[in-house]
Symmetry: D2
Subunit: 356 residues, 4 copies
């Protein structure tokens, strides 16, 4: 069975990555792509990589054909999903939301960090959180509901929370580290993470040959990371921008729990991580001492994880590398949609990057 | 039917791109990969993008298992193919050669430009030239021979000749331009074109934020371009290096034939080019005035062509953009192998790049 | 004696490079910087490289203090200089114009290529053309006038014309090449050449890892190059964009004159070029066969020239590398101002790039 | 008075940056440059940026003319300075050592981290540590000794320790943070930091579009940072490589001391940092909330510092941006030499970067 799908906000970077994945997907048929700014423009005119590949044309966000889809992906800025998700759900359309609008359990936290009212908090209780390797149960429930014909809402994790949590959560859940100590997250993103809208920060001549941190101690992914890691008030998150297009590396430094510090080697921790992620197609835990590279995952839905243990200072350094547009956004959304639709989790998703 | 294939020189950049394409190919089973320098090393250790994707291990070039393959790709430096092709052919293995060794019709021209003796000139008469869009007949003959069980030799075109010729050949073959006037080819390549061996020129700190021409008036692809374009002594070829990994853009300036200059518009020429390439899955001729971008083809086997006509000076500017490792090397080799094996020309070959 | 100078359009890329050079200049005192968009903003707030270096604040273009300057540099888009130069000149201020407004001798050519009326064509007859190595006489006359207290107008050459002409003009002026044959100019620029205003083309994620030609056969620098080279209707100019910030490389292919082709070696031509540029501090002619690199000149006012002769096809390939913002814009403007003010031509101008 | 100076290891990246600075220095005359690999090669042949600027030629390390210098800079790998410094000192030559050989107070720590014997530990007691903003006294003593004609040894701080310590030391020395808690240092360097020798990691096609950590929990700058910060066993240092040439950004996360957390704002801390660095020409403390960018300091000897305070988690995030080759190596060495020779600290040192 083929599912009819649509993408709202398809001309942005996460949106166009969804288009790439969905055009090649064996079970999804991409029927509608919307972009208010590019309505009427052929896909290939806006993105020449699709020349000769697709005849799709952008339509506006209010395209009624969205209601005819089985699944709609929302690749829109925060608050824009609040405006569209309830209506689509009411029309029986399953919504995979890539925005931040339904990620935070507590609408008050959303309102505090996003400075906007949450207009459909009632959906939060039943939405599934879209980070399959860490929140499998919610997605399994959503799949059951979908099989019964009930429209589902999935709130996909953000890019930084995905790389950070896949690297850090196993250690925390297994009690290897002290969750009450500060968890220091220094992450570096390529410039696609800053979005498609041209601006001073995304100008080539600003970003090229440059490194900078931004939104220090106030990035909106902070409460999301704390929620995923169950470590409220403990995450110090400093995002950085570096001169590359795709790729996100998160380096997480955590204080080892007393007994873990005494007993474990890095190889032990690698082994436990591998057991934790056994059977998951998109997480690869590298050998102890090996460091993940973003270039090894770009274009794929893979997260590569590296682990180093510092007996000297009693810390664990966990690193996660992803393609911020794929596993950090569109790929994860498709992975969630696959699960909700009862397909193989990896259907249509690349498992390897260009080798060079 | 699945074909068993091998790659000699699989750890170099063209070789590893072959590995990427062949692992994902629906009809080829990659059985042997060789690299003298990396013999014994697992593929994923040398190229972490393959972690979790393949358990292949590099073996040395003299691996006898090569003789058990239906098809062997040679991704080796010039003269190294001279050393391996005859033996493989004698063992009944079809050889797809990515090196320069069998490209030039005249062994004396090879010896002049490559400063090496040609040790198997007798193979030149029957080898097919591997640029399917311009030399279909030879590949069709090779396919017939292969179907009869006769081992075939294909000499794939080089990266610069491919982009240059796909952009220029239609105008020349259709008599739109004066083949006796100088044909000026200024091409720009990403650094993968310089190969994997580390050196002063490929050091990041040399290549980054830098532009330079090299081998001006003496690059070895010059006689190959002249052979393809049937324009001996007319091609002025200046290759340049720019700070990107993959991507090759060739800009060809040709003097219009008298009548063409008077009668044709750019749109006319676009139309004729589209007719010329009708039915070819990997060549896209852009609308008049549009310029191809290398980022639109990277990772794919596509060549995008742009055309501009300058009535003022009476010239045609034809631009071709390819991924130098894919359509300029490994992808074209797989395309040739597909044809020789009687498969769909596009089997296993990507037709679109990452959109951003 | 110190001269008081101002920069109109100081927040753009050419303007801010002027600011850099003028702050460090031993004889010029930078008194006024204007930017309508940034009026009121401290220089260091807009460009953090000036933190702790300068307390200048941007003012608006109509700042009356401009009239108190000895020299004002106009780093504004075309037509904006038409609006400011006459008034400043009338107030006795020498104007160094970096825009295109006064470059072309014939106002009709300006109007044709720039689609704008020329509102002060009477200034064209007496303005000096700002490319000192090729138009020394006009600048010498301007220096005489300036010494008498007469305000002067200098129209500085554009970035592409500068690199192209420094590479090609000696061969043409010395009769080594056939000026009536097409002169093929393929040039590559860094992204600063596209200006500071953010847009789709200058977005990091568009420009990075990408190569493209643009404005093929219709770039506005074409008539300027033809004027400088005295080769009307002969220049085919194709500009390209590559992923670097600063740097411009122009590769010029010219058909050798019959006797030159027979008699000269590349070393002969190098020798003649060196004689041509003897005593000029900013032009370096490399040994025969050596290719100039943009990284070797970035940050400096130098043009490095490489020359290759192709006896096979009878052409000369001349390459010029400059920093498009320095020798291609601000540095050349300061060089012109130095000459007009009777200072050493190289006062305050860097003669070497960062080595790596 | 002019000082005669030499550079040992002048063809490496730190060495060539020394050459750049010393050629332009008003008080130092660069008389000798050595490189065993490039002995006999003209400077401009190895680094074309010096074409027309200098006629210096590389000589070998055993050039006896080194003994005729007032000051010799050692820009050599670790242990190579051990081989040269004692001899030069014995000949009365002041030595500014950029290597790690004399940085660590305790030779046992050196031997542990560098796996090499320390062959002149007796020099450690009297050498000055070359980080002028934090260790002024030692350099002042060295200046006194030098004025008396006694040869001095300065061990310049490494690149990561410089950026890290300038950002973190004021908070620690002023008691604002808890030095016993883990100090998490995540730093990102451009590829010049990996040195000039070509290798797999510095190949353009590896480093471009890639992010990776390396030497996690075992980088040799760790004990040096702990020594400078007087925080033994507390520093968790994770260096990262990003695709740029020059530039180093260190992000340091420190737990606030109890009372500091309660009482101070970010603006307070900025004010205290500015007081701490009052009068230092090369350290700029940005306004609270502003983040330093490496592009704002490249080519200069400046360190820009940004500070953010997170009341939520009780931490201070201090960021330092430098040019790793200038303030992180050659510039700092010249700064130290200036001080030791009794010159202005900033003589010959650039205080601003290219603005774009």
């Amino acid at each position: 069975m083929t599912y009819r799908v649509g993408v709202v906000g398809a001309a942005g970077y996460a949106g166009i990555e969804l288009v790439r994945l969905l055009i090649a997907h064996p079970e999804f048929e991409l029927a509608v792509i919307t972009s208010n700014a590019d309505a009427g423009t052929p896909l290939a005119a806006a993105y020449p990589a699709f020349t000769g590949v697709s005849d799709l044309v952008f339509t506006s966000h209010d395209n009624p054909a969205l209601a005819t889809c089985d699944v709609v992906f929302l690749a829109v800025p925060h608050t824009a999903a609040l405006a569209q998700a309830p209506g689509l759900l009411a029309q029986g359309v399953t919504v995979i939301d890539l925005s931040a609008d339904y990620r935070l359990d507590d609408p008050a936290v959303f309102e505090q960090w996003y400075a906007a009212a949450h207009t459909s908090p009632e959906l939060l209780a039943t939405r599934a959180f879209g980070l399959p390797e860490l929140f499998a149960e919610g997605l399994a429930r959503a799949a059951e509901g979908h099989a019964k014909g009930e429209a589902q809402l999935v709130a996909c994790a953000g890019c930084y929370p995905t790389a950070t949590s896949l690297a850090a959560a196993p250690a925390l859940r297994m009690g290897l580290v002290d969750a009450a100590a500060p968890i220091v997250v220094d992450a570096i993103s390529g410039v696609t993470g800053a979005g498609k809208t041209p601006g001073a920060r995304t100008h080539f001549c600003h970003a090229d040959e440059n490194l900078e941190a931004y939104n220090v101690c106030r990035h909106r992914h902070t409460p999301e990371i704390e929620q995923i890691l169950a470590a409220p008030g403990c995450v110090v998150f400093t995002p950085h921008l570096a001169p590359l297009r795709r790729g996100l590396l998160s380096t997480v430094t955590m204080v080892l729990a007393k007994d873990a510090a005494a007993d474990l080697t890095a190889a032990d921790i690698v082994e436990r991580y591998r057991a934790f992620y056994a059977g998951r197609p998109f997480v690869q835990v590298l050998d102890a001492g090996a460091c993940p590279q973003t270039a090894s995952v770009v274009g794929s839905n893979v997260c590569q994880i590296g682990l180093a243990l510092d007996a000297r200072t009693g810390v664990l350094v966990a690193m996660g590398a992803i393609d911020n547009l794929c596993k950090g956004a569109a790929g994860q959304a498709v992975q969630c949609a696959n699960i909700v639709c009862g397909l193989a989790e990896s259907a249509g998703l690349p498992t390897s990057a260009l080798p060079v």
